[in-house]
Assembly symmetry: C2
Homo-oligomer: 558 residues x 2
């Protein structure tokens, strides 16, 4: 038997920010026992995946080896770590482990899809240990921007791995456990850290990260000074921020009303699970209508400009009976994720047109990041002194920058993007295999592969328009009537105001008159010829090359 080895294989989240899914394995090559860490989603956009609900990693590799899968661990309840649980768990059906708050969110996700919530086992923080085949796993609390985020300590026969999850060095995180240098020192002393898999999101931020608690003062001042109604948006899962905002509102004599399903759910779960005990009294949107505007604060979803969320709805007019007016204040207590600028500015502009004062994070005064910045990462490298470092949770540029700083600190570091299997057994990380990975789209209620061509065709229709051509032939291959054209997403008029469909039909009728029996017998030839003629006319008349669907109907005498 071959020597046993310790492997790491990202299936999602490495080379991108989103849809995290990382596999670890121990055993003889090809026979490793496996665990999966996180099952996240990423969000589609019109450029890449129009009409798609969410995107998740293609876990075919793992499905094919599911008999070797010991367990699934979820580090925290952000969508990019837990969002695919309901969609992908049925393919794996392994036991899922998570801390209490994360479990509660995960159970809701499973149950919504008719799956058994008790597939998730709630685990206490270290020193509790989950035994999963050759792996001994502990959840170590750390601070992030959601309650109960955790790093994993994964002890294996090949050594100790620290999987950082998403984290920041917050010594006063408002809700949840503070970062604790002594704890991490102890972890590193207990057993040397063979490999650190480390969050890379903020590797380009060169200043030390700031604590969630630094926001309380500026927010209290801003809210205290405000006239009229005050509306604030932030990420619904940032329960600590919600509490800071709500406490500042209460201190200013304002009553708090929470709007938006995801935010209400997070707050409810945080209170039910006991991760957050104190929170100012809130009222329902209906009750809020009875409260004078200047004594009210709305906490709303939609900080990224999501069109269906409360923030966008309020920018368009009345929402649940509430309406913003000149002199009110709207606060983005959030950062705009790259790619969402247009949507966020759409809200800002609409509110500006009403006369609302819009305040954004103002360079950190009203928002702090949930991820460790470069100096914080370097601090963690020094604390843990890992033999190896594999950056994760980043685009390629983040991963390679993280490798650069680790290498400079004398750590053997390696960029590993989705599909790169890394052998951690030796002194340095070694890429040993490239595994096919990809993306699955949840489209409506169906999972489709990113490369199935379905979405590619939608993008093509959006760019080029769609022409439908129908011809009918009888049993002796004689045309019955003339070809018929329907346009979708194309201007009806070509050059000089000529009817585009008619011009196409005329050209097709001429072609049909000339077509030989041999051509008319052959559906493939007919389709090719019609497509070519339709495109020629379109290029001449409107300068576009549309998608063309040809329907050849052959009527058989009955």
């Amino acid at each position: 038997m071959k020597r046993e080895r310790l492997i790491y294989l990202p299936l999602g989240g490495a080379g991108e920010i989103g849809m995290n899914a990382y596999v670890y394995g121990w055993g003889a090559p090809g026979k490793e026992r496996l665990i999966l860490v996180d099952m996240g989603v990423t969000f589609p956009d019109m450029d890449n995946a129009p009409g798609v609900e969410v995107i998740m990693p293609d876990i075919t590799w793992l499905e094919e080896r599911v008999s070797r899968l010991e367990a699934i661990f979820i580090t925290h309840a952000h969508e990019d770590h837990i969002g695919a649980l309901g969609h992908l768990w049925p393919k794996l059906k392994a036991r899922v482990y998570a801390r209490k708050f994360t479990s509660a969110i995960g159970r809701l996700k499973l149950e919504e899809l008719g799956l058994p919530g008790d597939a998730i086992t709630t685990v206490a923080a270290r020193p509790e240990v989950v035994e999963a085949g050759p792996f001994r796993v502990q959840f170590v609390p750390l601070s992030h921007s959601i309650p109960e985020s955790a790093a994993l300590i994964i002890d294996t026969p090949g050594g100790r791995i620290v999987h950082s999850g998403d984290f920041k060095l917050d010594r006063d995180p408002v809700v949840g456990e503070a970062w604790d240098d002594a704890l991490w020192q102890q972890i590193a002393e207990e057993a040397p850290v063979k490999a650190l898999m480390c969050d890379s999101t903020n590797v380009f931020s060169t200043h030390p990260g700031r604590s969630e608690s630094t926001l309380a003062g500026p927010l209290a001042e801003l809210i205290g000074r405000a006239q009229g109604m005050f509306v604030a948006t932030t990420f619904g899962s940032n329960v600590a921020r919600l509490r800071t905002l709500a406490e500042a509102a209460a201190a200013a004599g304002r009553t708090v009303c929470v709007m938006g399903r995801s935010m209400k759910r997070m707050l409810a779960v945080a209170q039910e699970t006991g991760v957050m005990t104190a929170f100012p009294r809130t009222v329902s949107p209906e009750e809020a209508l009875e409260i004078p505007r200047a004594s009210l604060m709305l906490l709303v979803t939609g900080s990224q400009g999501e069109r269906r969320a409360a923030a966008a709805a309020l920018s368009r007019g009345k929402y649940l009976g509430h309406e913003m007016k000149a002199g009110d204040t709207f606060l983005f207590s959030s950062r705009t994720i790259p790619g969402n600028e247009k949507e966020v500015f759409r809200i800002w502009n609409a509110l500006s047109a009403i006369g609302v004062r819009v305040v954004d994070d103002e360079g950190g005064l009203y928002h702090v990041s949930g991820h460790a910045n470069r100096p914080d990462l370097e601090h963690v490298h020094r604390l843990l002194l890992p033999d190896m470092l594999i950056p994760m949770h980043g685009e390629h540029r983040h991963l390679s920058e993280h490798v650069r700083i680790a290498t400079e600190a004398g750590i053997a570091a390696q960029v590993a993007v989705n599909g790169m299997m890394v052998d951690l057994t030796g002194e340095v990380p070694a890429v040993v295999e490239y595994v096919d990975t990809g993306r699955l789209y949840l489209d409506g209620s169906v999972l489709i592969g990113a490369l199935d061509g379905v979405i590619r065709n939608r993008i093509r229709m959006a760019l080029n328009g769609h022409v439908l051509a129908t011809v009918i032939l009888d049993e002796s291959d004689e045309p019955m009537g003339e070809p018929w054209i329907e346009l979708m997403g194309l201007t009806p008029l070509g050059r000089g105001g000529r009817d585009l469909a008619e011009t196409m039909e005329n050209e097709l009728a001429e072609w049909m008159n000339r077509a030989t029996r041999k051509v008319l017998k052959d559906d493939g030839r007919i389709e090719d010829d019609i497509r070519r003629i339709v495109r020629q006319v379109a290029v001449e008349e409107i300068g576009k090359k549309p998608e063309v669907t040809v329907v050849v109907s052959r009527l058989v005498a009955e």
Copy 2:
């Protein structure tokens, strides 16, 4: 006759950044003689206008009053100010005035579309005056990020207007004329400024703007230190930047090669028109292949991540024989315009994967903006002391912030977005009319209205997919064969792996069997029923509500 008045009417560029087009008028209400300043485009994206080439203002209002149009003035040769010239000029056919460099670019644009280049008259800078009906217009040179940008002084019987165009306060702009306080003081003293129409792009930038010349040192140092090939991208029209980059390259012993049509055109025009005299020697891409990589600098287009431009091509592999390698450097000497982040990061990540060192503007070290920041705007307000200020060139949030700071300085300021006609005759600006405005899309070679429904249908196909259903009936309304389904942009398999098209066909066949003669006589009823059934099946099988096109063919005996 009613009292004559001085009016201002933005048709594009106010309430958005892009497609600038501003009308001024003097005369009796409804009989004003008019001029148009700028004819710009804006760029589409997949969210709003998939497949569209460029977007321009709908100038129907002006077309309907074209007999009153005296002239068109173009402030500078950026696409958002001149890009629509070739497309919209045929609707107006008025004489166009611009400075030499702008004229040259404009002529190329007209001639490319088979229009007469001599429609443009080249005008020298102030003191030359263009007389256009009641308007006396002077071009005043100022610094921006393209040669020969100009403000317009528009003297009217109702007073002096200053139309700022795009500008910054650059006292050492490398190419072109420096900002000159004394000149502007003189302009304000010569005749009091009734109204200032002012660039608002950078009103949220609270630090004073920096000069183009400050980049020379940092760029020379960066390029001097670099190993391997050096590739830099910036806006092709920023001729000053190109010169600074090329000079830094030459000083470091590197030969310069320019790649990308738009950049080459701008450089050529700058040299032909004499606005830029000195520029280091350049070589063609073929000649550059003979030069050692470490002695080469490529200047490339595509700083916004445009997929077809040189930067993106180089990030994907070989381009014109050149290929980036580990150890090379790639510089974004540019700012990423909000909305383009994903495309820019795609290039960065691809280069990072090759091992190229990617450098961005690093907070201003390698790029400065071409627009005046807030303190610069305030300086200009104080210099010109206008009675009124109407902010332009900004989204609503920029315009209203600009109004706020002007109002605080005691200037009568007014937000006027596209379509708001402002009467400037009195003491304060007064909105007197709302004019229908909108957007025109150049789609292929055809201009279509934004509200024509063509693009809306494309977006719907992209989001929902497209189903084609065909049925054939004979002359006595009897179905011939069964209904036929084609899918485009939809998964072929529904729940449990059932064939989606087949399921739809079966349902439609059943419906057809049950359908009464009355229904089958009525194309509208057939289409409605088929659409409803197709959507029902789709919702059940795949959870989507597709677009449906129904083709009912009725065969007539011949």
